[in-house]
C-alpha cells in the first residue's frame, strides 16, 4: 500500500527487525521502535533529504497497564507516542516507544525539536515518565504541590473522591509561596535577580486584562523592553483527557465543546470523526453538510471574538461591541438550530441531534448578507487604520521555518506563507464538495495573522452559502447500531427495539477495540483527537492535541526584544483560549 511506503523505507534504513508496524483504525502509518533507536529515527525523519517530517505535531503517552486488547503490539507498561507531520508527503507518521516499569524514562526530543519541551513536561506531569538529556522536569499543568500523575490509571479521576477542598489562610499562603516565580526553580536565570542591572521581573497574569483568561507570563523587563518571557500554564487544566476515560462515547461530546470554548460545535467534529472511524460509521450526506455549516458558523463566531479582542488589545474601544453584535446574530442561528448558544453539544455519533428547523435557510442567508457588509466596515475601521498598522505590522514576526519547527498550525502557519489547510489538503467530513480559497500571507507578523482570520471569515461565508444552496435531502443521522441515540420511532412498538434503545441511551455504545486519530482545521489551528478504545463503552485513552498549546509556547520567541505593548499585541494576535491550552 502506498501509505505504508514510509514504514518500508524505515525498515530498509534501520533494519526490518527494529521497526514494528501496527495496524490502526485511522490508517495512519504507525511504527514501534525501541527507546535506543528513537532519537536516530526522529533525526532521520526530520532531516531526510526527500519527504521529511519537519513538524513534531504531537507528543504524548498511554498508560497501557490496564489495557486488555493489545493484539499485535509489543509488551509495554507505558507507551510514548510521537506524531510527526510531513507537508511534502501530506502524511502523518506515528512513532511509538514501549516503556517498562513504574518509573520509566526515555531520551528527550528537545535536542531535535525545541517545541518538545512543553509536551515532555506535560507527559512528565501527567504520567510520571522521565526524559533524559534535557533540563530538569517541572510540572506544567498541575500545581507544584500536587502529588501523583493524574493520567495514570491509579490516580483518582473525581474531585469528590479526593476529599472536600478546603484552604486555610496558612495553606493559601504556602500555595502562593510555591507559585511564586523563582528564577532558580524555573531554571531560567542564575540565582537571584542579578541578571543585569536595571532588569526586573513582572508577573503578567494569571489575572491580567490582556491575558485572555488565566494565563501567566513572567516577563523579565529592562524598562519596558521584554528581555525574556517565561509562560506558566495549567491554571485552566480541566482534566478533559481524564474525563474521556469515564464518560461514555456519547456523553463525552459536551466536554469537547468546552475545549476551544469560543468555537463550540467545531470541537465536536474531530472527536466524532475519530469515533466514527473506530466504529466504521458512514455519515449520511445531509448530516455532513449540516455539520460543515455549523462548524463554519462557529469558525466565524470564534474569529469575531478574536477580531474584536485583538483590536481592543491595541487600545481600540468600540469595534469589539460591533463584533459581538454580529456574534449575537450568529448565535441567533445557533439557537434556532440547536437550542444552545456557546456549547450546543449538538453533533452526534453518526450525524447530528435533529433536523434543521423550518426557515433556517432564510436566517442563514440574511446573516451571510449582513456579515459581508460589516466585514467591509471593519476593514475601514481597523485593517486600514494607519495607527493600527503601526502597532501590528512587523510585530511578532515569525519565519516559516520557525513556525514549522515549533508546531504552529492554522492561521498562524498560513500567515507565514505556507498554503496548508486541512480542509483542502485532506478533505474530511465532506469538505471536498465545497469551493473556497485558502488565504495566505508572507510577513508572519501580527497584522498578517489578523488578515488571514478576516479573509477566512469571508471564505467561511462562501462555504455556508454553498451549504444552503446544496443542502442534500435525506436522513440527518446514520442508520448504524453504534450511532447513538438510536431512532426512537419504533421503540414503542416492539420490545427488542425498546431494549436496544434503552441500552444505547443509558450505557452508550461499545466501540470495537482499536486506535484512531482525527484532525480538523479548527478555528485556531489543527485540532486532533487520538482515541484508544479497549472495546468498552468508554475511551481507554483520549488525547486532545490543541493548537493553542503549541502557539503559547512560541510567545517568548516572538516577544523577546519588544516592549510590553507589543507583547499585548502579540498575545492578541496568537488567538488562543486557555481551555485550548490547558484542556
Amino acid at each position: 500500500m502506498e501509505r505504508d511506503a514510509i514504514l518500508r523505507e524505515l525498515a530498509e534504513t534501520f533494519g526490518a527487525e527494529r521497526i514494528h508496524a501496527q495496524e490502526t483504525a485511522d490508517g495512519l502509518p504507525t511504527a514501534w521502535v525501541e527507546p535506543g533507536l528513537l532519537l536516530d529515527l526522529l533525526s532521520y525523519l526530520k532531516t531526510a533529504r526527500s519527504g521529511a517530517y519537519p513538524m513534531l505535531y504531537d507528543l504524548t503517552a498511554i498508560d497501557e497497564r490496564e489495557r486488555s486488547h493489545r493484539e499485535g503490539q509489543p509488551p509495554s507498561d507505558f507507551t510514548m507516542v510521537y506524531q510527526l507531520l510531513s507537508f511534502e508527503r501530506n502524511e502523518d507518521l506515528r512513532i511509538k516507544v514501549a516503556l517498562e516499569g513504574q518509573a520509566p524514562s526515555v531520551p528527550s526530543a528537545t535536542c531535535l525539536w525545541p517545541s518538545a519541551d512543553f509536551y515532555e513536561r506535560e507527559v512528565w506531569d501527567m504520567f510520571g515518565i522521565a526524559f533524559e538529556g534535557r533540563p530538569a522536569l517541572r510540572r506544567i499543568l498541575m500545581p507544584p504541590w500536587w502529588e501523583g500523575h493524574p493520567l495514570r490509571k491509579e490516580h483518582p479521576a473525581r474531585a469528590t473522591d479526593m476529599g472536600r477542598f478546603g484552604m486555610s489562610e496558612d495553606e493559601q499562603a504556602a500555595m502562593l509561596e510555591e507559585l511564586k516565580f523563582d528564577p532558580v526553580k524555573w531554571q531560567v536565570d542564575g540565582p537571584g535577580p542579578e541578571a543585569g542591572a536595571g532588569t526586573f521581573y513582572i508577573n503578567i497574569g494569571p489575572q491580567h486584562p490582556s491575558a485572555h483568561g488565566v494565563l501567566r507570563l513572567v516577563a523579565k523587563l529592562e524598562g519596558e523592553v521584554v528581555v525574556d518571557l517565561y509562560p506558566d500554564i495549567g491554571y485552566h487544566h480541566r482534566g478533559a483527557e481524564k474525563m474521556g476515560e469515564r464518560q461514555s462515547w456519547h456523553t463525552y461530546i459536551p466536554y469537547t465543546d468546552r475545549i476551544d470554548y469560543l468555537a463550540g460545535s467545531m470541537n465536536e467534529l474531530p472527536y466524532l470523526l475519530a469515533v466514527e472511524k473506530l466504529a466504521g460509521i458512514e455519515v449520511p450526506e445531509r448530516a455532513l453538510v449540516i455539520r460543515v455549516m455549523m462548524a463554519e458558523l462557529f469558525r466565524i463566531i470564534s474569529h469575531l471574538v478574536f477580531y474584536g479582542t485583538f483590536s481592543q488589545d491595541v487600545g481600540q474601544m468600540s469595534p469589539v461591541f460591533y463584533m459581538f453584535n454580529d456574534r449575537e446574530r450568529a448565535f441567533d442561528i445557533v439557537e434556532a438550530v440547536t437550542g444552545g448558544r456557546m456549547h450546543p453539544g449538538w453533533f452526534r455519533i453518526g450525524g447530528v441531534a435533529m433536523d434543521l428547523p423550518r426557515g433556517w435557510d432564510e436566517m442563514v442567508l440574511a446573516f451571510v448578507k449582513h456579515m459581508r457588509g460589516t466585514l467591509k466596515d471593519y476593514d475601514a475601521a481597523i485593517m486600514r487604520s494607519s495607527l493600527f498598522k503601526a502597532r501590528t505590522v512587523g510585530v511578532g514576526a515569525l519565519s516559516l521555518g520557525e513556525a514549522v519547527e515549533w508546531g504552529a498550525t492554522g492561521p498562524f502557519l498560513r500567515a507565514c506563507g505556507l498554503d496548508w489547510d486541512l480542509r483542502k489538503k485532506r478533505p474530511y467530513g465532506g469538505y471536498e464538495r465545497f469551493d473556497f480559497d485558502v488565504p495566505t500571507a508572507t510577513g508572519g507578523d501580527s497584522y498578517d495573522r489578523l488578515a488571514i482570520h478576516v479573509e477566512e471569515m469571508r471564505q467561511s461565508l462562501r462555504i455556508i452559502e454553498q451549504c444552503v444552496a446544496g443542502m442534500p435531502a435525506g436522513p440527518y443521522k446514520a442508520d448504524h447500531p453504534l450511532a447513538v441515540p438510536p431512532p426512537k420511532d419504533r421503540t414503542m412498538r416492539d420490545i427488542e427495539t425498546l431494549i436496544d434503545h434503552f441500552l444505547a441511551v443509558s450505557w452508550g455504545p461499545n466501540l470495537p477495540p482499536g486506535e484512531a486519530c482525527a484532525t480538523v482545521e479548527a478555528a485556531k489551528g489543527q485540532n486532533s483527537y487520538y482515541l484508544v478504545s479497549d472495546g468498552g463503552g468508554m475511551s481507554y485513552r483520549t488525547r486532545i492535541r490543541t493548537p493553542s498549546f503549541a502557539h503559547i509556547q512560541m510567545a517568548p520567541m516572538m516577544a523577546r526584544g519588544l516592549t510590553i505593548s507589543d507583547l499585548v499585541v502579540i498575545l492578541g494576535s496568537v488567538d488562543y483560549v486557555l481551555a485550548d491550552v490547558d484542556r
Binding site: 526586573f200 513582572i202 491580567h208 486584562p209 490582556s210 524598562g223 519596558e224 483590536s311 481592543q312 488589545d313 491595541v314 487600545g315 481600540q316 474601544m317 468600540s318 461591541f321 460591533y322 453584535n325 487604520s385 495607527l387 493600527f388 503601526a390 502597532r391 516592549t563 510590553i564 505593548s565 507589543d566 499585548v568
Partner: protein, 322 residues
C-alpha cells in the same frame, strides 16, 4: 469677579468651583451615554431620568468605600498624590474667563499660570506610581513623565501664536482680541497641535499610556481605591473640562456668540469639545510608547515651531513700524 471686595471673590471662587465639579461630573455621564451611542447601546439609563443620577450613585458608593493605604506604599506621598492632580486642574480655572467680567483672577500671565499648573499635575501622577511601590504603577508613572516631558514643550509653543496675535498672556485679552475673527482660523495649525497636546495632557485615548488598561492593568492608580481613586477619576474629567474650556477660550472666541448670554455660549462650546474628547476616545487605537514620543518630537514640535515663526512674521509685517 475682578472686584476687590472680599465676599464676591469667595462667592466667585465657590461658584466656579462647584460649577466645574458639576460639569465634570456631567461629563462622566455624557461620556458613558455618548460611548453607548457610539457602540450601539444605551448606556446608564436606570438611575434617575436619563441615568443622570448614575454619577451621584457612583459618588456615594466610592466615598463610602473602604479607605485604605497599602502597607508597602510610601504613605504620605501616596495620600498626597491624588489631591495634586485634582487641585492643579481646579486651580487653572481661576484664570479662565467664563463671561465678560466673570473670572476669578485675571492675571496678566494667565496663560503661563495654566501651563504651569498643568506641568504640576504630572507630579501627582508620577508620585502616585512611585509611592505605590508596585511595578505596574511605576511603569505607568514612568510613561506619564516621558509623555509629559515630550508634550509640554510644544503645548506651550503652540499657544505662542495666539499670544503673539493678542499681544497679551491674559486670557481675557485673548478673548477680546478674537472679536473679529476666532483664532481657530488664523491659528488652525496651533489649534491642531494644542488639541493633540491636550489629549496627551489629560491622558486620554490615544494617549492613555500611563493607565493603559490592557497593558498595565490600571497603570499609575492600580493600588488606589475609594476616595483617593475617585480623585484621580474625577481629576481626569476636570482636566477634560479644563482643556475644553481653554480650547474655547484661546481658539473659539471664548464667551462670544450671538443671541444667547455669554456664559451659555461658553458652556455650549465647552461641552462640544468635551464631546469631541469622548468621541476620540471611542474611536482610536493606542500608539506604542516610542511611537508616541517620536510623534511628539518629530512632527508636533516642528509644526508648532512653524506656526510660531509664521505667526510672528505676519504679526511683524502687519503691525508696521512702531
Amino acid at each position: 469677579m475682578s472686584e476687590t471686595a472680599g465676599f464676591p471673590i469667595v462667592a466667585g471662587i465657590l461658584s466656579v468651583l462647584f460649577g466645574v465639579l458639576i460639569v465634570a461630573a456631567l461629563s462622566i455621564w455624557l461620556e458613558r451615554r455618548l460611548l453607548g451611542l457610539l457602540q450601539q447601546r444605551s448606556g446608564p439609563n436606570r438611575v434617575g431620568p436619563l441615568g443622570l443620577l448614575q454619577v451621584v450613585a457612583d459618588t456615594v458608593k466610592i466615598f463610602a468605600k473602604e479607605n485604605w493605604v497599602p502597607p508597602f506604599a510610601d504613605k504620605v506621598v501616596f495620600v498626597l498624590a491624588p489631591p495634586i492632580v485634582i487641585a492643579t486642574a481646579l486651580a487653572s480655572f481661576a484664570v479662565v474667563p467664563l463671561a465678560p467680567g466673570f473670572v476669578v483672577a485675571d492675571f496678566n500671565v494667565g496663560l503661563l499660570f495654566f501651563l504651569g499648573m498643568s506641568s504640576l499635575a504630572v507630579y501627582g501622577v508620577a508620585l502616585s506610581g512611585w509611592a505605590s511601590n508596585s511595578k505596574f504603577s511605576l511603569l505607568g508613572s514612568v510613561r506619564a513623565v516621558g509623555q509629559m516631558v515630550s508634550y509640554e514643550v510644544f503645548m506651550g509653543l503652540s499657544l505662542l501664536g495666539v499670544v503673539a496675535q493678542a499681544g497679551s498672556f491674559s486670557l481675557v485679552d485673548i478673548v477680546n482680541a478674537q472679536k473679529g475673527l476666532w483664532n481657530c482660523v488664523p491659528q488652525a495649525l496651533g489649534f491642531a497641535v494644542f488639541f493633540v497636546a491636550s489629549l496627551a495632557e489629560t491622558r486620554r485615548v490615544p494617549f492613555d499610556l500611563p493607565e493603559a488598561e490592557n497593558e498595565l492593568v490600571a497603570g499609575y492608580h492600580t493600588e488606589y481605591s475609594g476616595f483617593k481613586f475617585a480623585m484621580f477619576y474625577l481629576g481626569e474629567y476636570v482636566g477634560v473640562t479644563l482643556n475644553s474650556a481653554i480650547i474655547v477660550t484661546l481658539f473659539f472666541g471664548g464667551w462670544s456668540g450671538p443671541f444667547l448670554p455669554p456664559i451659555a455660549w461658553f458652556l455650549v462650546k465647552t461641552v462640544f469639545f468635551i464631546a469631541v474628547f469622548i468621541l476620540v476616545r471611542g474611536s482610536l487605537p493606542r500608539p506604542r510608547y516610542d511611537q508616541l514620543i517620536s510623534f511628539g518630537w518629530k512632527l508636533m514640535l516642528p509644526l508648532a515651531l512653524v506656526n510660531l515663526v509664521a505667526t510672528g512674521a505676519i504679526v511683524l509685517a502687519t503691525a508696521g513700524p512702531r
